[in-house]
Symmetry: C2
Subunit: 240 residues, 2 copies
């Protein structure tokens, strides 16, 4: 059932098919959302080429899936950078990155799922991830917040970055697995709440005295009330 509509590549133009295969795999992934469902056969058919042709361009199925993950992860990083571009305040920039992260995840749920919610692809491995510019940019963003006095300069920026990442990943993953968990109208509000709370919470946590035993939580809350007033239901920032 090969379609045969494709023209054969000229000498040295094999790279074109390489890209087409990658794109087709991404497409298929977006439609099905599972690497199990993206079969070598299906990719070949989508491209309009015979199944064994895939092996001319990728060593095996894993290599293909890994390449897809790599490219999705790079796009995620780009979305984050674009969102932070031109934002002067580093704490704001950090938040924008976080929001862009979740926006990307919700806009590309099936891609996000395979890159960050499934097991055993090379892209999703600590050793590799820590070297990506996507992650390095996040850490750099945290570092700028440390310089600006939001977080302590004595903290490990990668550790803070991981904590913030966890918040973004958590709400993204939860909403992807379970879109009905929150009312669609409130969805971005909840996302924003989670992202903001993670950043503010870490900043606050670093300002609570740790030496003299746990300040009891009731006192802590009383302190917040004294300084800032009683809590109000969150209705989101005016600007969004």
């Amino acid at each position: 059932m090969t379609t045969g509509t494709r023209k054969r590549a000229r000498r040295g133009e094999g790279a074109a098919l390489h890209t087409e295969i990658l794109d087709a795999a991404r497409q298929l992934l977006a439609e099905t959302g599972s690497d199990e469902a993206v079969s070598v056969r299906a990719v070949a058919e989508r491209v309009g080429v015979s199944t064994p042709s895939i092996y001319l361009h990728f060593a095996d199925k894993d290599a293909l899936i890994d390449a897809v993950c790599e490219s999705v992860f790079a796009d995620l990083g780009q979305a984050m950078e674009a969102a932070a571009e031109g934002v002067a305040d580093p704490f704001d920039a950090l938040k924008e990155r976080g929001l862009a992260y979740v926006r990307f995840a919700l806009a590309n749920p099936e891609h996000y799922r395979i890159v960050l919610m499934s097991r055993g692809n090379a892209a999703n491995s600590a050793a590799h991830m820590l070297t990506t510019s996507t992650y390095q940019n996040l850490v750099e963003s945290v570092r700028q917040c440390q310089q600006a006095g939001v977080f302590s300069r004595d903290s490990d920026p990668t550790e803070l970055g991981t904590s913030l990442w966890a918040a973004a990943h958590g709400i993204a993953a939860l909403l992807i697995s379970n879109p009905a968990l929150v009312d669609p109208d409130h969805q971005m509000l909840v996302v924003e709440q989670v992202i903001s709370a993670a950043g503010l919470g870490l900043a606050l946590l670093q300002r609570i005295p740790q030496q003299a035993g746990d300040p009891c939580p009731a006192d802590l809350v009383a302190g917040l009330d004294a300084a800032l007033g009683p809590p109000q239901a969150y209705v989101g920032p005016v600007g969004s």
Copy 2:
């Protein structure tokens, strides 16, 4: 290759095999961590029974996997309740629930993975999840924090619960996918930081004036500094 070591159940004792199958599936899942890897054949062999016997107790493979998820999710809920038991302060109790959640996830990574990180099992569906006591207990815990003045009484407790859940799920999922992301010695410290920051962050967020436009983040941080002093690197609560 059926082992045949089992004795046949007496009349009306079919339920025993039902339980044995469930346990074997959980065992297998813990070893492999993927519902794809848990095959009906493998489960049958583990129990010491022929493959078709499984169908005497479960309609099909999905029903079996769903039953496993159900039971894991119930255990998770129990772990959370046990951790919160006897903790007087509701904000503390909420935190203990969160810590227990992540501890359970890290102790049972493969079980956690299939219940909360994979797609398409009945247990992991919003409609069902919202009715579980595991989730209801979390919401109740949030509600008690509202009564105690930690969070506004005007907030939606399920929405706050979801936000807190996101933080716990995020760090759990990240560390399960990627254990090397943080130094093992710091692992629980990071977890605690994320959980605490989520709770504190939401409490703080509700105390920031929202009417008169965004308070600019620099002012916000300056306010924290004025009230509480400059940030210090987090070294964790004394008590843990």
